[in-house]
């Protein structure tokens, strides 16, 4: 049986301590700049905060993974290199990378630190994964959320590195690292700036007469909710649009649902997945504590041969609907 490590999000030092205390095997986090894909206002770590966080985590046997998983635009590569140097000095346990130039730099400059391939690299075949393993010594791949469990099992047999899969949280629809939707509407890039529907461009407009609420991104209405309807963040791939034969407006890409694979955990472990990732560095400590401790119990139960009793995590999920996404059936595609 695989180790089934729990990899947990930490957007702030307090969230990191919460995740460690709730039973995370590893936490992942980033600096307060474009070097990671959750470059959100008020979030993330200064080098000093990361140093203290690593000490806190290591004292409790928890690993710290540093996300350097964006794509430096030409002329700004040094920011990513300095972040890697700082992470290595502080003693993080692994770097999570996507860009080949960044991977190459770390492989040459910090060969002693593990490299994990970010989901942002979009490596979804054994050949793509082996490219990164053979060239940069990648030890673990975070798989895109587009594969079924039988497909994951097959990949596991064909690659010489560990597999990490997402099990809970925001359910991205587009191939990660290949999405410029936010940049098209806002001028801020997911790949280069680490943002997705940046809060600076988000506005909620309530119609006092009807009670309807519109969620807007840089002036574009991404969705509109009735007075009693569950709402969502204006993420472009979860908006409602009209098409010529869909004049009523529909979720063209996906409804505002969250991924929740709690019921598939035994199968994923059996398929050889080494680590389970919980999304949500932008979420609160309340979320981290609740989700991490629930999954901690579930994974411990499964590994002890007991039936896992996952309590309902629905209230924490976006729009309060959940999905097993592509993992369950290829009909999702």
């Amino acid at each position: 049986m695989s180790l089934a490590e729990l990899i947990c999000p930490a957007g702030t030092p307090a969230a990191l301590r919460t995740a460690v205390d709730a039973g995370a095997d590893a936490v992942y986090c980033g600096f307060q700049d474009a070097t990671n894909a959750r470059n959100f206002p008020g979030l993330n770590f200064t080098p000093e905060e990361l140093e203290a966080a690593v000490a806190y985590a290591h004292a409790r046997g928890t690993k710290v993974l540093l996300a350097l998983n964006t794509y430096p635009p030409a002329g700004k590569v040094d920011l990513w290199r300095h972040a890697a140097d700082t992470g290595a000095r502080i003693g993080v346990d692994a770097f999570i990378v996507a860009d080949m130039g960044v991977a190459d730099y770390i492989a040459r400059t910090h060969p002693g630190v593990r490299l994990h391939l970010s989901v942002q690299a979009a490596a979804s075949s054994p050949e793509a994964i082996r490219y990164y393993v053979e060239n940069f010594g990648v030890k673990r791949v975070v798989l895109p959320r587009i594969l079924t469990i039988p497909e994951i099992r097959k990949i596991r047999q064909d690659i010489p590195c560990e597999i990490e899969t997402f099990i809970f949280g925001n359910h991205g629809l587009m191939v990660e690292g290949r999405c410029s939707l936010t940049n098209y509407l806002t001028g801020q890039s997911t790949n280069m700036d680490g943002v997705c529907s940046p809060a600076s461009d988000v506005e909620y407009i309530r119609d006092e007469a009807t009670g309807e609420m519109s969620s807007c991104l840089n002036g574009f209405t991404i969705d509109r909710f009735g007075p009693e309807e569950k709402a969502g963040y204006p993420t472009i791939c979860k908006g409602r649009y009209t098409a010529p034969h869909r004049p009523e407006g529909y979720y063209a890409f996906e409804e505002p649902v969250s991924l929740n694979l709690s019921r598939l955990l035994p199968e994923l472990i059996d398929a050889g997945v080494h680590a389970f990732k919980i999304e949500g560095r932008q979420r609160s400590k309340a979320y981290v504590r609740s989700v991490v401790s629930s999954f901690r119990r579930a994974v411990d139960d499964i590994r002890a041969g007991r039936t896992a009793n996952i309590e309902d995590l629905v209230a924490l999920t976006e729009g309060q609907k959940q999905t097993q996404g592509a993992f369950e059936t290829k009909k999702w595609r």
Binding site: V77, P244, K330
Partner: protein
């Protein structure tokens, strides 16, 4: 000026599911009339479409090469299924014509033999381009969202390594790909059961906000911009930065005339303003944008000359 004189016009791979007949007619006309130097062929978006036009590929290559065009075959952007892995490996095994790779699975199969790096491989910076050059890349197409400051640095770095450098200057911007087919979804179907409904939208299926603003186009698993990228007024600057190839993406407009608009400016036969107004007329109601290049929202159109870098 010298650098501009070297610039080549290329025609990118058809992103849509145009029928066999439409493709044949299109490339026949390109061979005879379009002033482009290089043509990319092959299915980049959906592996289910490939069987419809694979059989015609050798004849199309031959036709274009006889017309003096350089032909390059492009690989799939997304590689996951067995048929996609096989298609990518087969392509990577070809000795001629040249190939353009759009997925790391292709890089793996190609080993270090010469190849072009396509726009889906995320060559955002000089470090990545240098790495790719060391792995056999001879040419790189920069991501469509790269702003001009970065294009400047990336292009110079690539040229110094002896690589060709390409930038999309016309056509809808590729914004995202997914494992899910949004054309099928729009019609209540799944990808496996799509019945190729995407063939009804030769320029993509429009999506508008509920306020009626058209913003995106669906093309199977791909999402594109509503506006056509148009960098015609900027091509002199782009050439001076070291970009050697200008890519025109096939849209459902008169692509021969689009190519002539760019060619006339490259040849000094007409001014950029005049050619751009011709382009506007050709594109009808489609908006033209250059926001990505100017580091702002991609849908925007920045008018007037920007200060030199």
């Amino acid at each position: 000026m010298a650098v501009t004189d070297m610039e080549k016009l290329t025609l990118g791979p058809i992103a849509y599911h145009w029928s066999r007949d439409e493709r044949r007619d299109f490339y026949a006309r390109v061979a005879d009339e379009a002033p482009v130097d290089e043509v990319y062929l092959g299915e980049v978006i959906c592996s289910k479409r490939a069987p419809f036009h694979e059989a015609d590929l050798p004849a199309t290559i031959d036709r274009l090469e006889r017309a003096g065009k350089t032909v390059i075959v492009s690989s799939l952007a997304e590689v996951m299924l067995a048929r996609e892995r096989k298609a990518t490996a087969d392509l990577a095994g070809m000795d001629s014509p040249e190939i353009e790779l759009n997925n790391a699975a292709g890089l793996f199969a190609r080993e270090k033999r010469p190849h072009r790096v396509g726009p889906f491989l995320n060559a955002y910076n000089e470090a990545t381009i240098a790495w790719m050059a060391g792995q056999g890349a001879t040419h790189v197409t920069l991501p469509v969202e790269l702003p001009r400051e970065a294009v400047n640095v990336a292009a110079k770095a690539a040229r110094n390594l002896g690589l060709g450098v390409e930038l999309q200057v016309f056509g809808r911007a590729p914004l995202a790909v997914s494992a899910r087919c949004y054309h099928a979804r729009a019609h209540g179907r799944t990808k496996d059961n799509c019945q190729f409904v995407c063939e009804n939208d030769p320029d993509g299926m429009p999506l508008s906000t509920r306020d009626g603003d058209p913003i995106l186009r669906v093309n199977g698993i791909q999402t594109q911009s509503e506006s056509y990228v148009d960098l015609l007024p900027e091509i002199e600057e782009i050439g001076a930065m070291g970009v050697s190839h200008l890519r025109l993406m096939p849209q459902a407009v008169d692509m021969v005339e689009v190519a002539w608009a760019f060619r006339d400016v490259l040849d000094g036969a007409c001014s950029a303003e005049e050619a751009d107004s011709r382009l506007r007329a050709m594109c009808g109601s489609a908006g033209l944008s250059n926001g990505f290049y100017f580091g702002t929202a991609g849908y925007r159109r920045i008018e007037g000359a920007a200060p030199a870098l």
